[in-house]
Every structure is written in structure tokens, then in C-alpha cells.
Symmetry: C2
Subunit: 230 residues, 2 copies
DNA sequence: TCGACAAAAAGTGTATGCAATTTTTGTGTC
DNA sequence: GACACAAAAATTGCATACACTTTTTGTCGA
């Protein structure tokens, strides 16, 4: 994910690993995360696992039930709407600010991201695709030089990955990417009105593409973790 | 603080206690928070203290230095500007949304807050005053029924309390309150343009009232904690 | 008197142990 | 066969123990 610094601490490694597993849909909502099993998997004691689970619960990627354990979060429809509402507030304002403070260097950096995104769309790596689609939004904030904003957006987008998993009807990935292209072009052209409108429509589309009445299956733990990540 | 549910868990008690101490300026930036001392103070083991410190570090109220310990955060000028920038994005959009979805019940609830704020301005309780001034902003978000937004705003405002402590020139508390009254009146009147403008000006004023070149003294730990909180 | 170095103290990072709670398993009854 | 209940197993919550790092203290020599 964008803005993931070097994970020096052991706890951070566990957090990142679990975050990827959740965001990339290898760990499904409702899955129980037993401390000892995770500890065995990562070769550490429960202490570090508990720290990681605690952090993830603050990011709302998992929920901790007292004396019962940790479970991958199952965001409600209401929460989903709230998350999207906040994203709209932040991202529309961010696009405005980006146009106002646009420089060739920033455009270049964003162009570089677009190329990576474009390439990923052609490939088979679904995880990478999901990651880059999210990063597009974070990157714009980062280019504004506002790390506070970038971090908040990053967390909201992680939550959206969970929401998408729970409620998304069909794979709208390609569609999202096309909309990113449109936003990018408007940013390059310095066309604030279009950029704002396209971003608004993009977020509306993503939210509208959700189907708020579904059940999701649960999942096995060790299988999900022995996947293509660390 | 607004949105502080019943602090059932022991960790939450510690987090809230330390948060209040930091936000109410009883613990000054840079102060070291030794785990054992905190554990003794709260009558628990270091385990719980570590969890609390960990959470506070995510809220950016303290910073954890590997193998060196926890210190009350000393936000940089740059960070301060970023926090205010995000607040502007969120709060202006929130005011807009509030006007659009205003109801008599919401107005009543906000009016109730204004009365509490007004009363606190007359009293001597500085902590209460600070708390209510921050709550004004969170309350508007809560009344919109967006808990996600309210929580993010709450965290940003806590960080602002730290920033204010570090950089605020004089006590602008009364001035802030007067501006709140103005925003409130515009909200009651359903005057979106004025409400947005006043909120923008209010945040600009708070930020402009900061003086970005000062040192702050450090502080004693046990004294700060044996203050009027739990 | 000051600085460098070494020993001691204090403090953090992680693992382990134990009480308490929850979940599972097993048994008997209807 | 389904349900209720009790014993056993598994799991969580918290405290404690210990290795390792940082900070402080104390001593010596210039």
C-alpha cells in the first residue's frame, strides 16, 4: 500500500501481513483470528500478535470481542455509507487543492502511477490491481505533501476494500481504472471543474455498485496466510 | 470528550486518562511516559500500559521511540498545518451537509451544546472549557449521524489541542466561543453560505493565532496525573 | 575541572505462566 | 434423533520473568 514505510518492528510485520490478507480478500469477513495460531504462523509469542490485533482493531479491519477473540470485520451498510461520505469530503477537496497547487513534478509522479496501474490492469495479479487502484487516491494526497491526509485516506480505503468485498456485485475494477484515467487527464489539463465532477462520479459509482444485501462465506486461516505475501 | 462511550476496558481507562492529561495540557510535549511508573499509578501491569501507549501513539498524541520509551508528542509546524488543512476539508463539507439535512431536533441538540459552552465560558474550569470548545466541532458531525466522520474529527481535534499548547500565543478561548456562536446562528438560520464562510474563518483564525517559533517546557509525570481527572 | 570510560541502574521488548472465561465434547434423558 | 446439561479442552486477559538496550552514576586520568 502507498505510504507503507519499512516495517522494522516485528509487530508491524504482522500488522502489514494481516492487513494485506484482509484487503486482498484472502481473509474473509467474520473469520476468527486465534492468537495462538497466528503466533505459531509468525513464529512469535502471543504478545506480539495481540499488539498487532489491537492495532488492526483500531483501523477497523478487525473487531475484538471481549474474551471471545478477534474476527475480520464485517462492516455494516451504514458504516459503508459513512466511510464513503467521508471519502467524498476529503477527496473532492483534495482534487481541488491538487489543481490549485499543480506542478510538472507532481503531474509526472502521478503519471508514473497511472502507468503502473495501466500495466496491472493487463496482468493477472488481482492483489496488485486492488492495491494500485487504492493507491491512486492516496497518491494524490501524498503529492499534496499532506501526510496526515494521506494516512487518513489510506485507512478509509482499506476499510473500503472490506466493504467492496462484502457488497460489490461484479468486478468493477476495470471500470474504476477507466475513471482514474479520466480524473488524471482532467488533473493534467488543470481542469478543476471536470476533475472534481469526475472524482465525485467515481466515488458515487463505486458506492452505487454495491449491493447491500448479501451474505459472505467464512474462511480458513492458515490457508489465507500462506498466500503470496510474506 | 464527545463520543467517549463507557470506558469498560481497563486499557480504555488508561487511554482516556492520558488523553485528557495531554489534551488538557497537564502533560506537556516531550514528557517521558515511563511504563512502570504509569503501571504503578494505575495499579496494573505494564502489559495494559503498553497497550494504552500503543493506542495513543496511533492517535499521534504520543510518539514511541524504539527501546527508548514513550513521549508526549511534539507536533511540528508542518504537521500542524496538515492537520488544519484536513480539518478545513472535513468541517466545511460537514457544515454544508448539516445545513442540507437540518432538522428541528438537530438544531435543538446543537443549541443544548451551545448553552453548555456558554456556561463553561463564564466558569473557571479551563479543562471543561477546552473540552467543550472541541466538542462543538465533533457534535456537528455526530448530529449528521456519521460516526466515522465524528471519530476522525475527534482525533484531529485532540491533536490540535497539543498543537495549540505548543504554538498558541494567547488564550483565544473566548474568541473561539464567539465564533462558534456565529456559526451556530448561521446553522439555525439555514444560511449555508454564511455557515461555511464562518467555519472557514474560524479555522483560519485558530491556525493564524499560532506562533510557529517557541519552545515548551517539560513536565513532571506523577503531578500531572494526580490532577482533577480519574 | 573536564572528558572518557566502565560499572550499575533503569527501562524496554518479548516470552511464558496462570486464572478466568468461552467453546467444544461427551453423556444421559425424553 | 434432538435437547439439556456437565466435564474437558481451548482460548483469552493479565501479570510476571528475563534478556537486551539505554541511561545514569561513579571513577580515573589528563
Amino acid at each position: 500500500m502507498a505510504g507503507m514505510d519499512t516495517p522494522a518492528s516485528t509487530t508491524e510485520v504482522i500488522v502489514e501481513s494481516l492487513t494485506r490478507a484482509v484487503v486482498e480478500h484472502r481473509l474473509l469477513p467474520g473469520t476468527k483470528l486465534a492468537e495462538q495460531k497466528l503466533a505459531d504462523h509468525f513464529g512469535v509469542s502471543r504478545t506480539l500478535v495481540r499488539q498487532a490485533l489491537f492495532q488492526l482493531s483500531q483501523n477497523r479491519l478487525i473487531r475484538l470481542e471481549p474474551a471471545r477473540g478477534a474476527f475480520v470485520a464485517t462492516p455494516s451498510v451504514d458504516e459503508a455509507r459513512q466511510v464513503f461520505a467521508v471519502r467524498r469530503m476529503l477527496e473532492i477537496a483534495t482534487v481541488r487543492a491538487f489543481v490549485a497547487a499543480s506542478t510538472p513534478a507532481k503531474i509526472r509522479a502521478l503519471k508514473k502511477h497511472m502507468e503502473a496501474e495501466r500495466k496491472a490492469m493487463l496482468g493477472q495479479n488481482v492483489s496488485l490491481r486492488t492495491e494500485l487502484l487504492g493507491d491512486f487516491h492516496v497518491r494524490i494526497a501524498q503529492l499534496m505533501g499532506n501526510e496526515v491526509l494521506a494516512q487518513i485516506l489510506g485507512e478509509l480505503i482499506s476499510r473500503c476494500a472490506l466493504i467492496t468485498l462484502m457488497y460489490q456485485t461484479s468486478t468493477a475494477a476495470v471500470h474504476s481504472h477507466e475513471e482514474h484515467e479520466g480524473i488524471f487527464n482532467a488533473l493534467v489539463a488543470g481542469d478543476e471543474a471536470s476533475a472534481v465532477r469526475l472524482m465525485q462520479e467515481h466515488l458515487d459509482n463505486v458506492e452505487a455498485g454495491l449491493m447491500f444485501d448479501r451474505d459472505v462465506p467464512s474462511n480458513d486461516l492458515s490457508m489465507a496466510l500462506t498466500a503470496p505475501n510474506a
